[in-house]
């Protein structure tokens, strides 16, 4: 388990697997501020002027204690949330003033989310869960099925395609979620504490799969507060009180 057979063919030096794209950064945040609440009493500054650049092919860990703003950052990168101030460029395009239509399209095509609580549809099978982004991308049913099965094969869960989330282990559920995140070939996979609900063996499995995807050239951002998880990444961004306080290679942890 854990080794992703389809990827072994391409596995190699992480550095060379990254396509040396210099068409500008994939993600660029400039002075991003996110404030919740409007009154002075309930006003919470979740992000307080974040500048961040992530290039295609990077695997970045965002680390920090709870309340440091790392999840908010991930939501903004994933277009689930909008900055109160500042600018966010995805592939060089400003995102902050896009309409609902465009944001939905970006979430569908450019972003793949993996959540701590898995967030699978409980009444749908693993296969149907993986198909979901393709449904909203209006991919025809046969192709949808084929691609979803491919994605399940990549996380080594072909044999569980007809199972519902309640019939799967925590690790298996998170692998279904990863399959769902990658099925639409997004520009970036955003994982929010992906191992937070898993035992250490499953955590290891999940992180190895993400690492394999990265070796394939997939850009990945992982939010975590665990050092062990961050070690799978290439670069670590440290956050505290809504600000970035460090940006170091994972080796220096």
């Amino acid at each position: 388990m854990g080794t992703v057979s389809a990827f072994n063919l391409h596995a190699g030096n992480p550095e060379t697997a990254v396509s040396p794209s210099d068409a500008g950064p994939l993600i660029r945040l400039e002075g991003v501020v996110r404030i919740y609440g409007s009154g002075s009493a309930d006003r919470v500054v979740a992000l307080d002027g974040v500048d961040l650049v992530i290039r295609a092919g990077e695997m970045v860990a965002v680390m920090g204690p709870s309340g440091s703003g790392k999840s908010t950052l991930l939501h903004i990168i994933g277009c689930l949330d909008r900055p109160t101030q500042g600018r966010y460029f995805l592939r060089g395009r400003p995102v902050e003033d896009l309409g609902e239509d465009e944001l939905a399209r970006i979430r569908n095509r450019e972003i793949g989310f993996v959540f701590q609580a898995f967030h699978l549809l409980p009444r749908a099978t693993a296969l149907e869960n993986v198909e979901l982004p393709l449904v909203y991308a209006r991919v025809p049913p046969e192709e949808r099925r084929r691609r979803a099965m491919e994605a399940l094969a990549m996380v080594d869960l072909s044999h569980r395609a007809r199972h519902r989330p309640s019939e799967l282990s925590g690790g298996e559920r998170q692998r279904v979620a990863i399959a769902r995140a990658l099925v639409n070939r997004p520009s970036v996979i955003l994982a929010d504490e992906p191992t937070g609900n898993l035992d250490s063996r499953s955590s290891d499995e999940v992180m190895r799969i993400l690492q394999d995807l990265w070796r394939q050239g997939q850009t990945i951002v992982v939010v975590t507060h665990e050092r062990d998880v961050a070690k799978y990444c290439q670069r670590v961004v440290l956050m505290r009180d809504g600000r970035i306080v460090g940006d170091i290679p994972a080796g220096e942890l």
Partner: protein
């Protein structure tokens, strides 16, 4: 539209997942359609029955009555002063009318009819002997009475089916004497079964010659007139003219008698139906409103219950309109299921009621269509707000929403 199909699929699955909730919505949404169908079908059946009855006697029959039909409560007192139609007036009309094929004076009295100790309260119909020109009364046994018998005041009687069955119970009634009130009449014929109209029995009836009956009733309740072919309006004008003349009414005075055609009678029925229709719109409107409000609230609960699911769908790229479509379809399907159930149950009930009142039962497809359209529209209207609410949920908050 692949998206619409997906929304439809989700909606269907949800509906199957919560059978109790579905049943509740179906029941609350079917009442409007149910009321619509039952009332419309019965009103139509009534009209059909009345038309059938009239047409069996010829559609162009004219009725001259002592009082016009009561359309308003205030009419009742006004009509009280109208004089009865006298025999002299009937004779006068018979002489004057050029466009009448037949002029048949008629009386109606509920009287006990007795044979060998058995007794039935029957509608005694006094008629002049040419009554068969204006009424369609096929015989089961014997014959009708003749002009000669009428002229000579012979006490002969033709029995309705119900009276025959009740008094004779299958025995031969011909040439037997029955008591009608205090007079004895000899049975000459029996009319075939005619059924009921609006709950009134058309078979507990006997027909007697008017001349013989005149000892009991000197005046006339109404006159049945048959116009010469195509002369219905001419005859009507003529009757009005001569009767007003005979009664010496001034031009400013209203008619103090009633003049009714089959069409006129159907018009009255239609007016009554129209009044009923207005009430019906109220009932149906209320039903739609109640059903719709129940639907809306249950959907709002569903939106709350499925907040996290909505968040997930949004996170993987569902457009707000796709989320809205999902809930809108659910609303439309649920409401339409109610409509469908209403059509089904409405058909059943209207059929049973029609049978109980022995009315013809015909199913008007337009009512079913109208009912279904109504519920579909109500689904859109009352599903709109929950659907919009679902579509506008903030994805981050929705994802982290814990229900219950």
């Amino acid at each position: 539209m692949g998206m619409g199909r997906e929304a439809l699929r989700i909606a269907l699955r949800v509906i199957r997942q919560y059978p109790l909730r579905t049943a509740f919505i179906v029941v609350t949404n079917m009442t409007a359609v149910l009321a619509l169908i039952v009332l419309v079908v019965i009103m139509q059946s009534l009209q059909a029955k009345v038309r059938e009855l009239f047409s069996s006697q010829g559609a162009d029959i004219l009725y001259l009555t002592r009082r016009p039909p009561v359309l308003r409560v205030t009419d009742i007192r006004k009509y009280e002063s109208y004089p009865p139609i006298s025999t002299a007036e009937v004779e006068f009309l018979r002489r004057q009318l050029r466009w009448a094929e037949a002029v048949v004076p008629a009386t109606y009295d509920p009287v006990d009819v007795t044979f060998q100790g058995r007794s039935v309260r029957a509608a005694v119909q006094g008629r002049s002997a040419d009554y068969l020109v204006v009424e369609n009364l096929p015989l089961y046994l014997g014959r009708h009475f003749t002009p000669d018998e009428d002229a000579h005041r012979r006490r002969v009687v033709v029995l309705g089916w119900g009276v025959y069955r009740e008094l004779f119970q299958g025995r031969d009634p011909l040439r037997q004497w029955v008591w009608i009130g205090r007079q004895a009449y000899r049975v000459v014929g029996v009319v075939r079964e005619r059924g009921t109209l609006l709950g009134s029995d058309l078979d507990t009836v006997v027909w007697v010659p008017l001349q013989a009956w005149r000892g009991v009733r000197p005046d006339v309740d109404y006159v049945i007139l048959r116009p010469k072919s195509g002369r219905e309006n001419d005859l009507m004008e003529e009757v009005r003219f001569w009767l007003r003349l005979k009664r010496q009414l001034r031009p400013t005075q209203e008619d103090n008698f009633g003049l009714l055609t089959t069409e006129g009678f159907l018009d009255i029925l239609r007016n009554a139906t129209r009044a009923l229709s207005r009430a019906l719109i109220g009932v149906v409107g209320l039903g739609v409103l109640v059903g719709g409000i129940v639907l809306m609230n249950i959907l709002l609960m569903a939106v709350a219950e499925r907040t996290q699911e909505i968040g997930i769908r949004k996170a993987v790229g569902a457009h707000p309109s796709a989320i809205a479509a999902q809930f809108l379809w659910e609303a439309i399907i649920l409401a339409s299921l109610g409509g469908l159930a209403g059509v089904g149950v409405g058909l059943g009930i209207s059929y049973l009621v029609s049978r109980a009142l022995s009315l013809p039962w015909a199913f008007p497809f337009w009512v079913a269509g109208l009912g279904l359209a109504l519920t579909g529209i109500s689904g859109v209207l009352f599903g709109y707000y929950p659907a919009r609410r679902a579509a506008r949920l903030d994805p981050v908050q929705a994802l982290h929403y814990e229900h219950g």
